[in-house]
């Protein structure tokens, strides 16, 4: 027996011994992994679910892009129709004799200005709240940023409630589960079988050994994540259109993986049985993925309940109708107060045209009413979201969920910003309409093109 292993390299006393030991553990972990069918199947299922989720997201992205292209084509068609009227020296379609495309109001109508919340190509990573809101809207002087057409696309509410299986879902809920399956018997199996002391005697530090083993699974999952992100990025051209979003997704998903790894490490480092490991990890997952977000959701709906938007519906109906009921003199005085500059305009002197100009200016008052009604509604949004943000101190899953949504531009704030852009375009259109109408502007094809150009940029 003497002499065995004499030629072997003993690096126990080398400086890099710990590092080499970790590398050895990492290398061997592959064997542990592949010989556990449960773990392999779990990882494969995760990959399958993620790929499915990526395709689901890409499908929604493409559907929305197609819709945008479809509407743009219709916009262009309607504009061409209007340009044809100018060319043929016509006021409008024969069947609609009241139309006059040389008047600013009708020219703006035919300019068919739509504003889109064009989806980010990174949307496939996280559908977020994209299915809760509309993403295109025609800008008219009577439009508002809370019109009915800004509600969700036609969808099965049960699907919305169950939630679509997008990549973010796989990341947020399935990734911790896969990690759990990878780690549930680490440390605990050795402890249960009684050879953990042997491991300690061999490695000198059990935590180092456990950390090294975990590092393998963290690395494995990180590589899988990276692969999935790259695969997804190629589906919709993220590298070309939203390269930064790719980096951000990688950053946040890596951080999320580290969060769960850290948490699981703390839970399993002193476990003595597989059952206690599994219980603790499943408990943590239930707590962070289910209980805390659901409690916050319930709490928010009690403390800051989402209302029936009565302020808005009052403005859109009752208050506007009350404006209609006002005597002309009062209504006109309000318009003059709102736009003092019209007093000196050319039309102000023309009694006949003045009536039409007042009529064309009335939407400005409607718009003001709606805007005023929106203020408390958006304040309530802010308060509610503030409450949710505050909860992220102890609600990490919701925090990461919203981070993913922000990266992929499918966050609540993205749609709120979109509403603000819409409002700004509506304001622009109203102001231009009032100014041009009172100036007595006769719209020419070049003015028409200018409308398209100027009134499309918020």
């Amino acid at each position: 027996m003497v002499g065995i292993g004499e030629s072997s390299f003993d690096f126990r006393n080398e400086e890099n011994a710990s590092f080499m030991t970790s590398l050895n553990i990492l290398g061997y972990e592959w064997k542990h992994f592949v010989r556990s069918p449960f773990k392999v199947v779990a990882l494969l299922l995760f990959v399958a679910a993620s790929v499915y989720g990526l395709h689901n997201g890409a499908r929604l992205y493409e559907t929305q892009m197609d819709e945008v292209a479809n509407i743009e084509a219709k916009m262009s068609e309607a504009r061409q129709e209007c340009l044809a009227f100018y060319e043929a020296d016509q006021k409008g379609p024969e069947k609609r004799p009241w139309v006059d495309v040389t008047a600013p109001m009708w020219a703006m109508w035919y300019a068919n200005i739509y504003h889109f919340n064009t989806p980010s190509s990174a949307m496939e990573f996280s559908i977020g709240q994209a299915e809760q809101y509309g993403f295109y809207k025609k800008i008219t002087t009577r439009a508002s940023s809370y019109d009915n057409d800004l509600t969700q696309e036609i969808a099965n509410p049960e699907r919305l409630q169950t939630g679509s299986l997008d990549f973010a879902f796989a990341l947020l809920y399935l990734l911790p589960l896969v990690l759990l399956i990878m780690l549930y018997n680490l440390n605990s199996m050795e402890a249960e079988q009684g050879f953990l002391p042997l491991i300690e005697v061999q490695t000198a530090s059990r935590y180092w050994w456990l950390g090294s083993r975990m590092l393998f699974y963290i690395g494995l999952l990180w590589i899988v994540l990276l692969g999935l992100l790259i695969y997804g990025a190629y589906l919709t051209g993220v590298f070309t259109n939203a390269g930064f979003a790719f980096g951000q997704m990688l950053f946040w998903s890596s951080l999320y993986l580290l969060f769960w790894s850290g948490l699981f490490f703390l839970l399993i480092r002193n476990s003595t049985t597989i059952l206690s490991n599994a219980l603790k990890m499943v408990g943590a997952w239930l707590l962070f993925a289910f209980i805390i977000p659901a409690t916050v959701h319930q709490g928010v709906s009690i403390v800051q309940p989402a209302g029936f938007m009565t302020e808005l519906i009052d403005a859109q109906r009752d208050q506007i109708w009350k404006l209609y009921d006002l005597p002309d003199s009062v209504l006109h005085a309000r318009i003059e107060q709102r736009f003092p500059e019209i007093a000196n305009s050319p039309i102000a002197e023309d009694r006949k045209k003045r009536q039409m100009a007042y009529k064309a200016s009335t939407p400005a008052l409607f718009n003001d009413l709606v805007k005023t009604s929106i203020v408390p509604i958006e304040q309530a949004y802010r308060d509610r979201n503030q409450l949710i943000r505050w909860s992220t101190l102890f609600n990490p899953v919701t925090f990461f969920q919203n981070q993913f949504n922000q990266v992929t531009e499918t966050h609540f704030d993205d749609y709120l910003n979109y509403r603000h852009e819409l409002q700004s375009l509506i304001d622009q259109q109203i102001n231009t309409l009032v100014t041009d109408t009172w100036e007595g502007k006769v719209v020419t094809p070049s003015h028409f093109e200018n409308y398209i150009q100027d009134l499309s940029q918020p």
């Binding site: 065995i4 072997s8 126990r12 064997k31 009684g194 050879f195 005697v201 490695t203 000198a204």
Partner: protein
């Protein structure tokens, strides 16, 4: 060399080890006999650095276990009562893995030689440990300790559950290791095996070393009678 001097340990006020002093020299096998709960495992755990003594000194190879336990562990070969290794790895792979954990990298033939010299037949090297008998697993456990080229071996009931043949092979192995200069402490309640393999025997009761004697000074029957006398008293 293994040395305990006036070691004390209690758990929640119940004394587990009381004023324990013993020494195991290089080339010596020391048997620690005692009933369940006598303090054998606590002694081993203190030597491994898993349990801190309340007082007293514990050294291995002149190193204070309580202070440099990581360094001490690198010199120890430990064989638990049940060597339950990774069932989905072979004996060969388990040995390789545990060697790597200790920072030791051996080539294939060395690893095979360790297993063979510890009594594991060659045809079993590549079989999964889940198919091994307890004796075969124990041999892998010994080869793990042996491959570490340890100077000190701590064995906690190593022969428990082994068949007579495997138990006999274990005795031979321990004798060989001692002959190579190792200091071996073996906790057991197998009087026959202890008498046969150990140079010295200590009887532990309620955490106290109540008798220490040389194996060659007593027959197995005498040792048994002595042991029973102490246990009944």
């Amino acid at each position: 060399m293994i040395q305990l001097i006036h070691a004390f340990k209690s758990f929640k006020g119940t004394p587990a080890i009381q004023d324990l002093s013993l020494q195991v020299n290089s080339g010596e096998v020391y048997g620690l006999l005692g009933a369940n709960g006598a303090g054998k495992s606590t002694t081993i755990n203190m030597l491994l650095g898993f349990v801190q003594p309340d007082s007293g000194s514990i050294t291995i190879q002149q190193m204070d276990v309580t202070k440099v336990y990581k360094k001490v562990r690198a010199t120890i070969g430990y064989i638990p009562e049940n060597v339950n290794l990774y069932p989905y790895l072979s004996g060969f792979e388990n040995l390789d893995y545990f060697c790597r954990l200790a920072g030791l990298k051996y080539n294939r033939s060395d690893l095979q030689a360790f297993l063979t010299s510890c009594g594991l037949p060659k045809e079993a090297h590549r079989k999964k440990v889940s198919d091994y008998s307890k004796g075969m697993r124990q041999k892998v456990g010994i080869s793990i300790a042996y491959a570490k080229k340890a100077k000190v071996y701590l064995l906690d009931e190593p022969a428990s559950g082994l068949d007579p043949l495997a138990s006999n092979e274990l005795s031979d192995l321990l004798k060989k290791l001692a002959a190579e200069g190792a200091a071996i402490l073996m906790a057991s309640h197998d009087i026959f095996r202890v008498r046969e393999v150990c140079h010295r025997v200590g009887i532990l009761k309620n955490g106290k070393l109540i008798q220490e004697l040389r194996s060659e000074d007593v027959t197995t029957n005498e040792l048994e009678n002595l042991y029973l006398k102490y246990m009944k008293s």
